[in-house]
Amino acid sequence: MKGNGRIIEYALSTLARRKFKNFSVAAVFSVLIAVLSSILFLTHAYKTETLKLLDNSPAIILQNMSGGRHELIPTEYIKTLSGIAGVGQIAPRYWGYYYDSLTSANYTLMAVDEGMQDVKLIEGRMPQTDTECAVGRGVADLRQAGLKDDFFLITGAEQSVNLKIVGIFTANSAILTNDLVVMTKDGLVKFFNMPADRATDITIEVNNPAEVSMVARKIRHAFPNSRPILKSELIRTYDNIFNWRGGIVLTMFFGAIAAFMIFVWDKATGINAQERQEIGILKAIGWETSDVLTLKFWEGAVVAICSFFTGLILAYVHVFYFNAQFLAPVLKGWSVLFPRFEPMPYIDIYQIFVLFFLTVVPYVAAGVVPSWKAAISDPDVVMR
């Protein structure tokens, strides 16, 4: 081992000599990285999971608007829609919201449709009669109900509708299904007292994905009061909700970055007298400035890289083993019920590289700069 190899060996022994200080620094660094990484891991996992679940969404959801608000849509639109070139399968959807005064929570009630029969994320099965329902995990937990248990809803006329739970959505789909109660179409229409010729919205498939925007324009032209919602718009919306740059996540992210910068600034603004003296001694016994900088680079790099990966591991365990206990309530706040969501371990390598360059590089530089200032001074001045 020559030159640089021995300097690296010496850097390690220097870290070991100041183990309490370096351990404290590494602990703070790791916690900050863990916070930042948890945010990135969690938002990315949510986004990926949600976008995967949206894969089966229709190309267009058509809503009827009245006074700028969403209204029930006439099912007779389907006949006109099927005449538009490029339009594929069309289906009305029936759904609405229900406030459950027993649990003080809002549920989303939805009629089972043909596409739902293939949903694999369920324990049990989908409802087949008007007296059956399938519920999301959050609803089941709130009502403390399981498969085959009774489930009642209060109608507007102060009467209750009794249903039997025949299916429960699994935790893996909780992000979309947590507050869901799925009923048969007839059961739901009756419950909400919806007119027979109306649906909540209409789903439309488009044969050629490249023509979705054009088809949407034609629909809007045919029904000026309607609002076609494209799948790409939904994806963009979810993307914005979960994107780490959005809203509260941005605040948390930059809070952690600010804490990290203060930490780095503290390091960059000076080295203690003992370290200064040691640099002076090394210079006096024949070390060049570049040797001192190599030493300080490795000291900083070892602490930063070890802390970075420790932080990453902590974040991984926090997010994917403990379901992001500290962060999930913040991010899942858009939902009426907090889903007991278990994020799947999707990781964006690009984000990790960005985090690495935002944290490790400034930290190492912050250690090298004050040492460089000491190293370019005359040794006897530094040692005084």
Binding site: K2, G3, Y10, I281, G286, V381
Partner: protein, 230 residues
């Protein structure tokens, strides 16, 4: 007489232009003969340590020239100055300036870490020096656990590891009792016999009254008061 180091009108001003400006030495011109023992003698604040630092390339003069092996080093860029320091000088500091937490072995080998000297050669050189200075048994001991005399021997070993032509010692007996001071002088004379040039800054009569001191440069108030080749 062959001079290994020569200064011409060297001055050193600290905090130049500030309210607390200090002229540590002024217009000093001296010669350090090769292979001899030279002592800078003088009271505290006379400029001995500053002059020792200047001739050892530890700092640069404000004015004047310093010739080491005939080459003016006063204006050399930092990199070349380090090279001169590494190849020509070994330093023994007043407070030893050993690195706490490191063993005797590590402290002694420290000057060689950035060099390309082979590891086995480094070890061999270190073992020889430790043996000479009776430190072999202490090689794995952390330096802060050693006595003052032992620490000084470690500092001497570290100064010798680069095989320098000149050993510079700043107040080497300031923290030693008479017996240890004598031990130090014995080591120094041995080094001198081996051909090393020795320069000692001291105000300890135990050193400058010794008959084997070849050259005494007496300093006062930053200037050379008297040069006395003996």
């Amino acid at each position: 007489m062959d001079a290994v180091i020569r200064t011409e009108g060297v001055s050193k001003v600290f905090n130049a232009g500030l309210a607390d400006e200090v002229r540590a030495i002024a217009a000093v011109s001296i010669e350090i003969p090769r292979g001899r023992i030279t002592v800078f003698k003088g009271p505290s604040g006379s400029g001995k340590t500053t002059l020792l630092g200047l001739i050892g390339c530890m700092s640069r003069p404000t004015e004047g020239k310093i010739f080491v092996e005939g080459k003016d080093v006063a204006k050399l860029p930092e990199r070349f100055l380090t090279n001169v320091r590494r190849k020509t000088f070994g330093f023994i500091f007043q407070h030893f300036n050993l690195i706490r937490g490191l063993t005797v072995r590590e402290n002694v080998m420290l000057p060689l870490y950035p060099t390309d000297i082979d590891g086995r050669q480094m070890e061999r050189r270190m073992e020889e020096i430790l043996d000479k200075l009776d430190l072999t048994a202490k090689r794995a001991v952390k330096v802060e656990k050693l006595s003052g005399g032992q620490q000084q021997r470690v500092a001497i070993a570290r100064a010798m590891i680069n095989e320098p032509a000149v050993i510079l010692a700043d107040e080497p007996t300031a923290h030693l009792d008479t017996k240890l001071s004598e031990d130090f002088l014995n080591i120094v004379t041995t080094l001198n016999i081996d051909g090393k040039t020795i320069v000692i800054a001291t105000h300890d009569p135990l050193i400058y009254d010794k008959p084997y001191i070849d050259n005494i440069i007496e300093m006062r108030d930053g200037a050379v008061k008297e040069t006395a080749p003996l």
